[in-house]
Point group: C2
Chain length 353, copies 2
């Protein structure tokens, strides 16, 4: 087994007891940190930063140098897979991601192929290996991917959307084509995550950012089904350790039971679901990760502490909680509030029940 | 009692048996209709259309002339109340609503006052009266307002927002100020809805579009509490008839039980909550309105019928269902698909159980 000085994040994901609740933050390497903005400037663009393993490694480690966090997460974008499929990812400042060649024609969909993660996505596996070396066993590294439905939304829309109506229209009007996109993308995501694990990622996380925009029936058909396939296809053990898997389902609070049965070790919750209710519903089957509203980090440090304790109290004195935000950290977050949050979570000692 | 040829919408809201499931559609008077686009062009702008009672009446009736709908809804905007409070509502094409004078300073918040609905909002009560006359008892008229939290979001942000972080920051950092905004706005909404009822609205609906962006604890404190005050403050009977009340809570599927106890006669559901589950949870206490995903209306008519039947089947053969979309109709909807939807709902006869 490779050296790992702090494994409480991995143990909490497997619902093993830990001396305290581990914490990391979605998008913890990001624009709220001045050192990130400096590196990004040096890289020239967000995408150049993602595609440069040395710089991706540098920004991945920045939040761990500042805060006593219990995990690092690969710095990358969720849209690397469709980019590697040839869709041509690019970013316009303030507008979010775009594709040069979104899927608009049937032949384009029929021609989709899963990329070789060791070729087109080599910059990612190189970054993973470099980050692992740089971490030197101080904290575990999380690899990640977007979910098939989430990737398909961007691939069909060509970018972000208020309501993903093009993606949904395709799903309702031509389910055969949508399922083809989802099938190929699922194969790609499994290969991609496993390549990250083989390169050193010690946990794997899938972001289902847009599953929550679907009806329950459509969610089961177009998102959950493919999440189950991913959970079943992931490498379960590596370097003598279990590689826990997490699915973050934004808006998935309505479908917790189905998600808990999907095969992932842990569910990431957005901030709308009460953590106590979630634990009561599914805490016996999966670990839970979350779920402070990122907006709380815009208030004063003492309010951050109160609200963090509220989430911790709601989960209660049980194993299986990884503290996190309910969504990515806001770029407007004062870094000192992150310090206050990490302190509050570290200081927390649940009442014994 | 005033003449009303078709009262199945009002009866379903009170969970009385009806010969079939009534249907109307959120934003049924809107851009998907060529006749609406023509009237709006004539008005000059969206806001000019809202503020002209004769034109507002004209567009309110347009969908009922085309489709056999069971209710009309006042054509207006949810932000008329803050506009009447002096914030200066305006629209930029493609960007959604904006305020010239959003609430940024404490003194601006302290100076807020509830407008007199018969003065600053006279154009709304005049429109309600004109629409009632024009309907001539053929279908009931719904009046509406935004919820206090939803209005406060726009008032603080100055427009739409991806995450409403300014409004949330104020709620977390200065709850006293946010509660002041919500208190004044609640008084204004009650007076506004009661003025609509006195002018002829036969049901009252509150749109809580952004409550679903809050954590459960924050939802109870900043949205639900004020919804309860509104439900308690509404005129309950008029013209010898009950005036049913509806609260539409986007993203409120997680809090159905609390919403069902809030005092409204009916809950409007977005499309993410399964209608059968919702009925099982709260159908014994409130009527339910919804909840087809508006994106379904972008597929072929036969798919519209299949998906509409799925919602109807999920609710089952019980009283207390008003068919609707789970959100406003998309501007890209082909009108013939709306016809297919109305036909499918009219043709539906549940299996007796």
């Amino acid at each position: 087994m490779s050296r790992l000085d702090n494994d409480i994040f991995l143990r909490a994901l497997l619902r093993e007891p830990t001396p305290r609740t581990p914490i990391w933050l979605m998008r913890q390497a990001g624009r709220y940190l001045p050192e990130y903005r400096e590196t990004r400037k040096r890289a020239g663009s967000f995408l150049a930063l993602c595609k440069n393993p040395a710089l991706a490694c540098e920004v991945t480690l920045q939040p761990l140098a500042r805060f006593d966090l219990d995990a690092a997460i690969l710095f990358s974008d969720i849209l690397t897979v469709p980019d590697a499929m040839g869709l041509g990812l690019y970013f316009i400042e303030g507008e979010g991601p775009k594709f040069e060649r979104p899927l608009t024609e049937e032949w384009e969909i029929r021609n989709l192929a899963a990329p070789d993660p060791h070729a087109e996505l080599r910059y990612v596996t190189d970054a993973v290996a470099e980050i692992r070396r740089a971490l030197g066993g101080s904290a575990p590294l999380i690899g990640f991917s977007g979910s098939p439905w989430t990737l398909a939304c961007y691939m069909v829309e060509g970018g972000s959307s208020a309501d993903y109506h093009k993606a949904k229209m395709l799903a309702y009007a031509r389910p055969d084509l949508m399922h083809h996109i989802l099938d190929i993308t699922t194969q790609a995501v499994i290969a991609y995550l496993n390549a990250q694990i083989e390169s050193g990622a010690q946990a794997a996380m899938v972001f289902d950012s847009w599953g929550g925009t679907l009806s329950e029936a459509a969610y089961c058909e177009f998102s959950l089904h493919y999440l189950q396939r991913i959970a079943a296809g992931l490498i379960r053990e590596r370097e003598g350790r279990r590689v826990p898997s997490i699915v973050f389902a934004k808006g998935g609070g309505l479908w917790l039971e189905a998600l808990a049965a999907s095969g992932f070790d842990a569910l990431g919750l957005d901030w709308t679901m009460d953590m106590g209710r979630a634990r009561a519903l599914v805490g016996g089957r999966v670990a839970l990760q979350g779920n402070l509203d990122p907006a709380v980090l815009l208030a004063a440090p003492e309010i951050v502490a109160v609200e963090a304790n509220r989430v911790l109290d709601a989960f209660g004195p049980h194993p299986g909680h990884v503290f996190n935000l309910g969504h990515g950290i806001s770029q407007y977050t004062p870094p000192e509030n992150v310090a206050a949050l990490v302190d509050a979570v570290h200081a927390y000692r649940p009442e014994k029940c």
